[in-house]
Symmetry: C2
Subunit: 169 residues, 2 copies
DNA sequence: GGGATCGTCTGTGGAGCACCAACTATTTAT
DNA sequence: ATAAATAGTTGGTGCTCCACAGACGATCCC
């Protein structure tokens, strides 16, 4: 509620009363639960969770070089190669040389890839039902919308150094 | 928008038009991004991301046996031991023998643990700002609330076999 | 007493992934 | 034109996470 408490009196701490609502741990927890279920569901489709992440990112913002992709996925670019090799072997993505910079490989989802991704998402319905069972459809949609925006947007509007000061927190 | 399109005509497929909104991949993606940043931030506090997950779960629903904890975290119970050893070594949790079943170790967050957890969440502010930069405070709170409910609740109210039928999806 | 259960310890193996080094193809700067 | 920087690829190394199995003591239940 109030992140500004204590700013005025310069009182030292009292971090207990309103615990900061950080989503990190919950994100981690739910992602794990989901991933465990996804693995078995995705296996018959020849995919792994991380393939699905890559495909999803590519669908959201395709046509990027694979170095940019490495930045988005925050993976080492050398490992991206293997990942894309898997996907290209099944014709889910295409690597085309960029016309304006022929060093660059422009990665794009193929029609096949979009279809496979859809199938996978479809197959994950029951897994999601288990993990997000406490949320009704409208809430799940809200969740999706928020996650989607957070994932693609990432504008980092202001790097306001609020918490970077010396204060106890 | 319309998830009910095509339900009436029993047309076969067309999975392309409105792709199912599955949060799994996005969850995975964001959790990874967050975890990468968390590691460096949490290190000076002597914690790792998975410790934070455990502490968060314990704060939400403490006083459980560690086998129950293993079920919640969906980890092997043998690995829970090491995780709790780490936390107990720093007096962030306590293992007390259950009075009614003395085989059981009831795990609970100590005051120290709650404090450390708060500090960690506080320290993660900048990390979260980077990852969830596209969301405003209200949206982040909504996200937190949804994740929290999904994480703790898990009642799996109705196992309505909507999608379990033969239909293409 | 006998069998099942909880927690603990140890070890093993596979998977994910970061990092390093070397190489090619291409662009850009001097 | 030559040098330096960049994009991608390949191969290898090593660390961490984690599931799984085996064995053990303590305890509960029948």
């Amino acid at each position: 509620m109030f992140r500004w408490v204590g700013r005025l009196g310069h009182m030292s701490a009292q971090p207990l009363d309103t615990s900061e609502h950080r989503s990190g741990a919950l994100l981690d927890h739910l992602a794990r639960r989901m991933r465990l279920r996804s693995e078995s569901v995705l296996a018959p489709l020849g995919l792994r969770p991380r393939h699905l992440v890559a495909l999803t990112v590519l669908r959201a913002g395709g046509g990027t070089g694979q170095q940019a992709l490495a930045a988005i996925l925050e993976m080492d670019s050398t490992n991206i190669v293997g990942l894309l090799n898997d996907l290209e072997a099944e014709q889910l993505i295409e690597r085309r040389r960029s016309p304006e910079d022929r060093r660059r490989h422009v990665v794009e989802l193929t029609e096949n890839g979009a279809k496979r991704l859809s199938e996978a998402e479809c197959a994950l319905a029951s897994a999601e039902d288990e993990v997000l069972g406490a949320l009704n459809p409208a809430e799940r949609e809200t969740l999706y919308e928020l996650l989607s925006r957070a994932s693609t947007g990432t504008p980092i509007t202001c790097t306001e150094a609020i918490c970077a000061t010396d204060d106890t927190c």
